[in-house]
Symmetry: C2
Subunit: 256 residues, 2 copies
């Protein structure tokens, strides 16, 4: 597939036509680095939703960066009958896909709850990524302790409470798979593949309702099949390799 | 107003009833610290939308923190005929309010664009807040330079390009006020009231299409009236005072 330069959003085609492609798409391509990270929630929605989709990976990110709307990935290419729409920013992509595949609840209140859980989880993941993953090596140990004792413990406590309120049934809202369940599970899978994974997942283990969300999502028939695929296994291997020394991994990528 | 303990979301009332209150609300209360920060986008939507609304401020945040869904604000209290729904997390609140007041575009494509601009702006603001505002004083100068030269310059360049694509008309999408316009303007107003404001706003000044968004939003008739109100002026004064020394301001708040 030839990747189009999408530094510019499509402003030529009437937005109603682009919208029609988005609501009745026949296939999708998700472009992101070949790791889990910020692309995995979208991938998991596509897999759980039984979509026709494939991964795209940058061949030379240094030059491709300037051909994206904001200099970042993921990007989602939405296709219908050979026509294409490109959207950007992981949250915008995740919410669009969740809506497409019926994972945003059944009314405005449920959508607001799902949006709140999603945002809360994304925030704590950003905190981890900025304070631990990308911190200077000499600051990492203290930052990890602070993250564990403050942000993460508080997040676990709050989410566990809300899950108990929903009957500890493996879902955040009602009895259905939603974006909130998938987002939290993608976060846990990401954490599990970090050097700091074991000690952080110990904290999650002590919160049975949270643990059950992860098990429920990972055992969803379509997702269990996806997790067993070579595609996903490669992403996991890459994730583990990348985060052993993320600064070196980025330097290697830039030198390519 | 007596504030309810909302550590728990309402799971008793049928969600369809809560949803009905949300879609036909008659008034709103936004609870947040008495500064602009992460509460201002919601306040600006409420003001621009001509809603009946008021601010709530914590009286003793140390005790009230545990009475919120995630230990953070803003919270939005949505009222109809004496009934109340509480939602949490700034992004979830902003998107709900934007939908209520017709600021999410006219179709799925426009909504995805608005969501992407919103998220891109929130991300660069979080980068500023974590790398500059809350960084150790000895690291601030170097971090500010990095923020200016990398994240912020790239963000400005990308957004300016997308605004030119829309005709440099003071709006991100079409010819109407949307959440994207309000989010970017709230970010600029926040920046303007930081110690680092002058040099950062110089960079924005060199991007006329971005500057025009801010002028268009701030001159919107309902928002111009709100900006001139004592309520807003006090928020601005508090914001300037708080960010002169944010660590000291937080310590003072905790000691209350």
């Amino acid at each position: 597939m030839v990747l189009s330069n999408c530094a510019h959003f499509d402003r030529e085609t009437p937005s109603s036509e682009l919208s029609e492609i988005m609501t009745s798409a026949d296939s999708y391509c998700l472009k992101y680095f070949p790791i889990e990270g910020l692309g995995q929630t979208s991938r998991d929605i596509l897999a759980a939703g039984g979509a026709k989709w494939e991964n795209l990976f940058p061949e030379n990110w240094a030059t491709e960066k300037d051909q994206t709307p904001f200099g970042c990935m993921p990007l989602l290419y939405i296709n219908k009958n050979g026509k294409e729409v490109v959207i950007s920013e992981s949250a915008a992509i995740d919410f669009y896909l969740a809506k497409q595949f019926g994972m945003l609840g059944s009314n405005q209140y449920e959508e607001a709850l799902i949006g709140a859980f999603y945002t809360s989880t994304s925030s704590v993941m950003i905190t981890f990524v900025s304070q631990v993953t990308w911190n200077q090596s000499e600051a990492k140990k203290a930052s990890l302790e602070t993250f564990k004792e403050r942000s993460f413990k508080y997040w676990v406590k709050a989410h566990e409470r809300h899950l108990i309120d929903n009957g500890s049934n493996g879902h955040y809202v009602g009895n259905e798979l939603t974006l909130a369940d998938i987002r939290t599970t993608a976060f846990f899978n990401h954490l599990s593949h970090q050097p700091e994974g074991p000690e952080l997942m110990e904290i999650v283990k002590a919160a049975p309702a949270l643990w059950k969300v992860m098990e429920t999502v990972n055992n969803h028939p379509k997702l269990a099949k996806y997790r067993a695929s070579e595609d996903y296994k490669t992403l996991v291997e890459n994730t583990i390799g990348f985060y052993k020394d993320p600064f070196a991994a980025v330097a290697a990528m830039a030198a390519k």
